[in-house]
């Protein structure tokens, strides 16, 4: 006989209660793992999108705030509010290397919405370092043709030579981009003047990306642009941090939910063990009479609760990983993620899993303290009289 054997036998005495309590712990921990994992995945995805931007400054119409700025990353449809004349003024600002104006529109293709992005072909290609997977790139700054992203090509089974429709107008597809891993995969690209004509927004763009000559000078250049042109400017870092702060509140809420689940699990353990102490008070008395120390009784109950944490944590982590993949797409389904090429992959990292596992065991041990203490407060003779 040893402590572990004794505790294991006790644990399995009430199989139903064991399973339900364990289930409570596992579910609490699963919620914790999956919500944490989903949140981290979202974070990672946003950073990836921001890197895909490839620019140092983002020029937007005056008065744009964080929520609108997000759409620069997501490729949503945007009003065209910056005149090309302002874009030309920006080009003339010292320290500006490159200005890439965008028109973000949407078209319905085979009854599905597809972003249509109007770009300056050469500048765009230089900025994004696009590779062509099939066909060719635009043959000029105003060729009425379409280049589609990799995911769009796969989704609609498109190849060069097929016809794409932009606002009802058929345009030939000349090329398919290689997979870029960001929002460019789920968009179609058309030379800027063509889009401006089709959408009747001649001379206007949605926003512009700016590359600077010297990264050290980003802030100075930003100020100069705002002096010269009637626009608002944010750096890519500001953009990223404002987006992360919005998403952060979402992650925070998810973490709060996870914490509640974990606490409920801990109370489940306390409840089960207090019931066990009550049920077993006669045998606790017998054990004391036969020579058990209080320390042994205490350790036995503590180990019992620790095992709930260990087993529940293990099952919970596994369930949580599964849950992150299955539920993740639904939980992060919002304006931001909807426009991502795919919903963010949950980010599984060992530290989170180990942390959760440790938390589960630690919390279970803490939950066991009170019942374990109660078990040592029984007097043998009184306890043994209970029938």
């Amino acid at each position: 006989m040893n402590l572990f054997k004794l505790v294991w036998r006790n644990l399995l005495r009430r199989k139903g209660r064991f399973v339900f309590t364990l289930g409570g712990v596992a579910i609490g921990m699963a919620a914790f793992v999956s919500l944490l994992t989903i949140g981290q995945g979202l974070d990672r995805e946003i950073k990836k999108q921001a890197q895909g931007l490839g620019a140092n400054l983002v020029v937007t119409p005056k008065g744009w705030c964080a929520y609108e700025q997000i759409s620069v990353l997501t490729g949503e449809q945007l009003p065209e509010a910056i005149p090309m004349s302002e874009v030309d003024k920006i080009r003339a600002v010292p320290g500006v290397k490159n200005v890439i104006p965008y028109v973000n529109e949407k078209t319905a293709f085979r009854n599905r919405p597809v972003p249509v992005i109007g770009v300056l072909p050469e500048e765009m290609r230089a900025l994004q370092k696009w590779e062509i997977a099939a066909g060719r790139y635009f043959n000029g700054a105003d060729e009425p043709a379409v280049v589609v992203g990799a995911a769009i090509a796969t989704q609609f089974q498109l190849k060069p030579g097929d016809t794409f429709t932009v606002r009802g107008n058929p345009l030939p597809i000349v090329g398919v981009l290689s997979e870029a891993g960001n929002k460019d995969d789920v968009a179609s690209f058309v030379p800027l003047p063509v889009v401006q004509e089709l959408y009747e927004v001649k001379g206007m763009v949605s926003f512009a990306l700016v590359q600077v000559d010297d990264l050290q000078q980003v802030d100075t250049v930003s100020l100069r642009i705002q002096e010269k042109a009637n626009v608002a400017v944010v750096t890519d870092k500001q953009l990223l941090s404002s987006i992360l702060s919005i998403v952060g509140t979402v992650s925070g809420a998810m973490q709060a939910v996870a914490a509640v689940g974990v606490l409920a699990a801990a109370f489940g353990i306390i409840n089960t063990l207090l019931t066990a102490v009550y049920e077993r008070r006669r045998e606790i008395g017998i054990m004391q009479a036969v020579g058990s120390t209080r320390r042994t009784l205490f350790a036995a109950f503590l180990l019992e609760s620790g095992l709930y944490g260990l087993l529940g944590g293990f099952v919970g982590v596994l369930m949580g990983i599964l849950g992150a993949y299955v539920l993740g797409p639904y939980l992060t389904d919002n304006a931001f993620t909807a426009s991502l090429r795919q919903s963010p992959e949950p980010s599984l990292d060992g530290t989170t899993l180990l942390l959760t596992f440790g938390l589960s065991i630690g919390l279970a041990l803490a939950a066991g303290l009170y019942p374990a203490y109660r078990s040592t407060k029984l007097s043998p003779v009184e306890a043994m009289r209970i029938v």
């Binding site: 040893n2 036998r9 005495r13 004391q288 020579g291």
Partner: protein, 233 residues
Amino acid sequence: MSETSASVIRVANVSKVYGAGEAAATALSEISLDVARGSWVAVMGPSGHGKSTLLQIMGGLDRPSCGQVYLDGIELSTLGSAQLAYTRARAIGFVFQSFNLLSHLTALENIQLALWFGGKESKEGHARAIDLLDSVGLADKAHLTPSALSGGQQQRVAVARALANDPDILLMDEPTGNLDSASEADLLALLGRLHAQGRTIVMVTHNPVVAESAQRIVRVKDGRVEEDRYNGS
């Protein structure tokens, strides 16, 4: 001085009152009793007159309401809970009137549990537990739980458990109460051997024939010693 060292158990003016107020029940009233080392004492007396209470107080399972109990000259109330547990595990073997086996453990495991409390590891505990069951004639019932054993068999497992840690003092509450005459004779023979090895035995019994095996017979009535005589005197 010589008197105390000869008495392995000494009960001095012990009273035990259960409950309080109207419901108070006096189980022992100022009882005194010395048990010499290596002696074999039978405690007899009518039902409900305090025999079990006396035995429990001697074994340190319960505290007297007044008076002192000395084991090997040490007053029990001066022991801390860990020392008391050690004493219960190593120095005393207790057989309860209602056996008090743990119902979810097998006969073998019940004994192993006591061995573990006495500090024996699982490995050596197993062989010893089998030996002990064998000594009470139950080696073949090792893996049955108490509910699958008869009353007499449970009682013998309880005896084997009491012997687990080779205690010097055996306190047995009606150890033969549920036994047929053959098993009773076997158990008395076992106790005789233990007594011959120098162990102190105090046993409660209603059976005069069983009491005759002891050297000394103490009659308890109304929580007091009514008669105290040596066998053959």
